[in-house]
Symmetry: C2
Subunit: 185 residues, 2 copies
C-alpha cells in the first residue's frame, strides 16, 4: 500500500504493517467501520456496515441499517483538551482503568512520574450528544410477511474468555475475581 505522512505509523511501527494482504484480512474479519468526515469544519464519526471488493469498500449510507438495528450508539460532540496537571491525569487514568476493568487499579503499582509525563490524557467535555437504541422484533413492510424467509434477531455479545496467564508470572499469583468474573462492558 502507498504510504504518506497521514497513514504513517508513529507509535510502535514494528507492530504495524502496510502489507496489503494483512490489511485485507483484518478488514475481512470485521464488519463495522467508523467513518470520519467533516462538514464545514465539524468532524463527524458514523458507524456503518461494510463489504470489501479488492481495494474498494462498500459502505451502507445509513447508520440505521436494517442489519444493525439494535446497535446502541452515542454520538457526542465537544472539545478535547490535553490534561496537564499530574494529579488530575492520574485520576483520569484511574477512571479509565476502573471503567474498563473495575478492581484492577488497586492491584497495580500506579504510573510513575516519567510514565505520566509520557502519557497523553484528554479531557473531552460533552457539549451535545444523541443516542439511538432500537429494541424488539424486526419491522417489515406488511406485504413482506408473506415472503417465506427466516426473520428474527441474532443477538451479538462480546464475551471475556478464560484468562491466559503471563508465563513470566510467579506461580503463586492467582487470577483475582475481577479478572475471573469481569463484567464486560
Amino acid at each position: 500500500m502507498e504510504q504518506t505522512k497521514r497513514s504513517e505509523l508513529r507509535r510502535f511501527p514494528a507492530r504495524g504493517s502496510h502489507e496489503t494482504a494483512l490489511i485485507h484480512s483484518i478488514l475481512d474479519a470485521g464488519f463495522l467501520a467508523h467513518i470520519g468526515f467533516e462538514v464545514d469544519g465539524q468532524p463527524f464519526v458514523i458507524p456503518t456496515l461494510y463489504g470489501r471488493d479488492e481495494d474498494r469498500l462498500f459502505l451502507h449510507g445509513s447508520s440505521a441499517s436494517r442489519m444493525l438495528r439494535k446497535l446502541e450508539t452515542v454520538v457526542a460532540f465537544g472539545v478535547a483538551r490535553k490534561m496537564m496537571d499530574t494529579a488530575q491525569k492520574t485520576e483520569a487514568l484511574r477512571v479509565i482503568s476502573e471503567h474498563v476493568l473495575a478492581g484492577r487499579w488497586a492491584d497495580i503499582r500506579g504510573p510513575s512520574a516519567s510514565e505520566l509525563e509520557a502519557t497523553t490524557v484528554l479531557e473531552f467535555v460533552i457539549e451535545e450528544a444523541s443516542s439511538k437504541i432500537r429494541e424488539g422484533d424486526p419491522i417489515d413492510d406488511e406485504e413482506d410477511y408473506d415472503f417465506q424467509t427466516w426473520a428474527g434477531v441474532v443477538p451479538l455479545q462480546l464475551e471475556a474468555k478464560a484468562p491466559i496467564r503471563d508465563p513470566r508470572l510467579s506461580a503463586h499469583v492467582e487470577a483475582p475475581g475481577y479478572i475471573l468474573h469481569s463484567r464486560l462492558r
Copy 2:
C-alpha cells in the same frame, strides 16, 4: 442535553434520544470510543479506551494503550463517492450483506427499485491504509516482574447467541444454517 443541528437525529428520530441518563448509560456500557478530528482538512478516526465522570469523558491519548494491545485495527484513507448506477448499487449491497452474513442474500427478495432509490451506498477506494496487530504475552518493564500482581491476557470475543424468531414468522420456516452457524466476523 443541548441540541443543535450537528447532533440532530435526522433518521428515525423516534428511536433516538437526547436524554442525559440514557446517553450516560450507553457510554457506561461500552469501553471503546472512536474519536474523530481533523488536521489540515484531513479527517482522522482513532479508537481509544475511555472513562466517564459526569459529562466528561477521559480519553487515553494513545491508540496503542496497554489495555488494548491486541486490538486489530485498520486505518484507511480514501475518498468516498455516492454510487448512482442501480446495478452497481445492488451488487454493492450484496457484497455488504454477504460480508456480514454469508448465505443470506439468496434467501431474501432483494431490494425493490424504490428501496434502491432511497438507499445511499458509498464506494470508498482505499488510497492508503495501515494495520496494527499485537500478539502474545504482556511486555512489562523488567523491574516490574517483581511486582506481585496478576498479568496476562483476557481474550475478548464477539459471539452470536441463539437466534430469536420474529413472532410473526410462519411456523414452518426453520432457521437456516447460515443463521444457526453464522461465522461471526
